[in-house]
Amino acid sequence: MNPVYYDASYLLKLQIVESGTIEVRGHASTVREIHSAHHGRAEFASAAFRKVREGVAAPADFQRLMTQFHADCLSGTILLLPLTDTILDRVDSIFATAPVTVYLRAADALHLPPPPNTDSPRFTPTTPTSSPPPRSSACAG
């Protein structure tokens, strides 16, 4: 079983119930562990807090969600991969070689760069799908 890379949207669909949750949870059950970029943690919190702002969750619910998320990070279920200079260099090269018509946001680009010699699929529904993940294994619980 290979690890898989999810972006923040997939991380949130795992933890709360919304469109696509069943499919993402089903997929997560077939992979060893879940990887995401470090900044995905802030995106996860931001998108979850928007639900609080919209009145579909209470601030206490937000705390419970984040506690579970951090527990999943600490247990190694979700690994948040550090944004290293190597990753940023690869972001540079993505922009350097992208067609002029490509609209790629900074946060999208940070989710994209795969390290060489990896073969896990990436799932980034808010961005174009690219190739593999694991840069290293670090968890910021």
Binding site: L14, E18, L65, S75, R105
Partner: protein
């Protein structure tokens, strides 16, 4: 050594197994007769059962290695989900896309 070949007859797949062991064929005929099925029907029935068992075992083995499938749920989080919290509002995919647009 047994060999199997697949054919399509009038768009229906057919399976021909060469060198099928005689004793196995005899047992298959007996079981089919006991179940009031043809040998073909019995073969399909047995294959369906065997394949379903194999698929179930594979899925179970797969899920036992998944950290997500075996993660520990915090009681407060589990209870919160049952209340329907976070259901509704803007989908996270759209929320994150808007968030990235705003930066």
């Amino acid at each position: 050594m047994m060999e199997a070949e697949c054919y399509l007859f009038f768009n229906m797949p057919a399976l021909v197994i060469k060198s099928f062991p005689e004793d196995l064929h005899a047992r298959l005929r007996q079981i089919a007769a006991a179940h009031r099925r043809s040998v073909t029907q019995e073969t399909i029935h047995l294959l369906e059962a065997a394949i379903a068992a194999e698929e179930t075992a594979t899925a179970a083995a797969s899920s036992s290695q998944s950290k997500w499938a075996n993660r520990k749920l915090l009681p407060e989080y589990e209870a919160m989900l049952k209340t329907g919290a976070f259901s509704g509002g803007v989908d996270s995919t759209i929320a994150l896309s808007e968030d990235r647009d705003a930066r």
